[in-house]
């Protein structure tokens, strides 16, 4: 193969963007997430970021990060096994594990990396991994890297999982993998039933709580608190870049698991540690959650309901998720991108999902109204919805089914 052919093969198909007359991806933000967000020199209301509690721009978090940097510098320029594991990071790992109710934890630079590296560290070719059909790419790719048998089960369907657990045989260990909150639709996994099945079949449950930590549970401690899972026997992962408003990926569980990962998870051992400033930032967020969670949670859910009622009133099909996420079913990829374009034109920043992130003709536009949004601005957004819906529907008719 020639070099020209190689680069030719990489060329992007721009058909979708051309047809929808909009590219919603990689827009350049010119501001922080605090309202308003600026893009293309215009003001936007942020309904896209995963800043559920509105803490990404909180001055207390910023100050903690600055203090962390003053004391430890920008980076320890080493992997955790070498110079990267500052006392601050280690304390954060213990604090996060206790926060979610588990024995110990380890923090990687991202949860994609955590999910990606977890499985090769704890599973082998003679194991089997049962995984929710709609699990996040990081979990699927991490599981695939093991080279063992992968058995997908129907999304949030413990009945199907049970029948598969009854069928698989000849393996050393079974793992059952799910997310807590599926973020493209806001559904919550039936974790209680899954853990019970794992217990019955001797399988290890693995749950990615990226969209649940800091959101679910009476104290924001995530999916385990939400389901009253006090003695969770499996593996827990979560992103620190969503409600926890920083960056990083937690893996938590029993001490034996964490000790093992410290030496056998290459994604941890061979990657520069989470910068100390970020560790300090996450610590500050945990402090704030400790005192302000009830108020912030109330605002988050109020915002979700306000938005959901407004969306339904103008005829959008909103997926009836139980999480603080509103997801509009928008149809084909072109219809989906066009809907995001109409929101964008109205100054509302949203996230469109098209195939392969979601099934082919089930594209959706996701709106997350974080606790930090000013209620008056959200009210104005709801008032703009009839115009947005009308423009989109007219465009869909003119453009055909897309």
């Amino acid at each position: 193969m020639t070099l020209a052919a190689f680069y030719d093969r990489l060329r992007l198909d721009e058909g979708l963007v051309r047809e929808a007359e909009f590219n919603p991806y990689y827009r350049h933000l010119q501001s922080w997430l605090g309202d308003p967000v600026r893009i293309d020199g215009r003001d936007f209301l942020n309904l896209a970021a995963n800043d559920y509690l509105g803490l990404a721009c909180d001055p207390r978090v910023g100050q903690a990060i600055t203090a962390g940097v003053s004391r430890y510098g920008a980076s320890l320029c080493g992997t955790p096994i070498a110079t990267g594991c500052v006392d601050l990071l280690r304390a954060l790992e213990e604090r996060l594990a206790a926060f979610v109710g588990l024995e110990d934890g380890v923090v990687l630079p991202s949860c994609y990396q955590a999910n990606n590296g977890l499985f090769t560290a704890v599973a082998g070719r003679d194991d089997v991994i049962l995984i929710d059909h709609f699990a996040h790419s990081s979990l699927i790719e991490g599981a695939r890297a093991v080279g063992c048998k992968i058995r997908p089960f129907r999304h949030n369907d413990p009945g199907h999982l049970e029948s598969l657990l009854g069928k698989v045989r000849g393996h050393r260990q079974a793992f059952v993998v799910t997310e807590s909150v599926f973020s493209t639709e806001g559904s919550i996994a039936p974790l209680g039933a899954i853990v019970e099945l794992c217990d019955r079949f001797g399988a290890v449950p693995v749950v990615d709580d990226s969209h649940g930590i800091g959101v679910l549970g009476a104290n924001g401690r995530g999916v385990l608190e939400h389901f009253g899972q006090t003695g969770f026997p499996g593996i827990y992962t979560a992103s620190l870049g969503k409600a926890l408003a920083n960056a990083g990926g937690l893996i938590a569980g029993r001490r034996a698991l964490i000790d093992h990962l410290r030496y056998y998870c290459p994604h941890l051992v061979y990657s520069t540690a989470l910068p100390p400033g970020v560790a300090a930032g996450v610590g500050a967020v945990l402090d704030i959650i400790g005192t302000e969670f009830p108020a912030r949670r109330r605002r988050l859910w109020e915002h979700r309901d306000t938005l959901r009622q407004g969306l339904a009133a103008v005829g959008f099909t909103v997926l009836s998720g139980e999480a603080p996420i509103n997801s509009i079913l928008a149809g084909t990829p072109v219809q989906t991108i066009r809907l995001a374009r109409e929101f964008y034109a109205a100054g509302l920043l949203t996230t469109p999902f098209v195939h392969p992130s979601v099934p082919l003709n089930e594209g959706r536009v996701r709106l997350i109204a974080g606790a930090g949004l000013p209620p008056a601005r959200l009210k104005a957004a709801v008032e703009a919805l009839p115009t947005i819906a009308k423009a989109w529907q007219a465009g869909s008719l003119v453009g055909g089914p897309g």
């Binding site: 069928k167 082919l360 089930e362």
Partner: protein, 82 residues
Amino acid sequence: MSLEEKVVAIVAKTAEKKKTVTLDTDLMRDLGTDSLALLMIIQALEDEFDIAIPDDAFKKVKTVREIVAQLRAHFPRLDAAP
């Protein structure tokens, strides 16, 4: 039950949404079958017929009818099964 009927039933059962499945159902277009969903179908067929389907046998299938054809090509004795 014919092989066709069994395959149609398996595809319908593994689909995420209740949809009418026929031999002409296009997996990608009509059901949004992604790589994990295809794996689910293949494994359900393996469970049903007690066979081991080679890794690349279903790489190019587009419709349910083509699944049946591939199955027949690889496992000619399936039609005789009860």
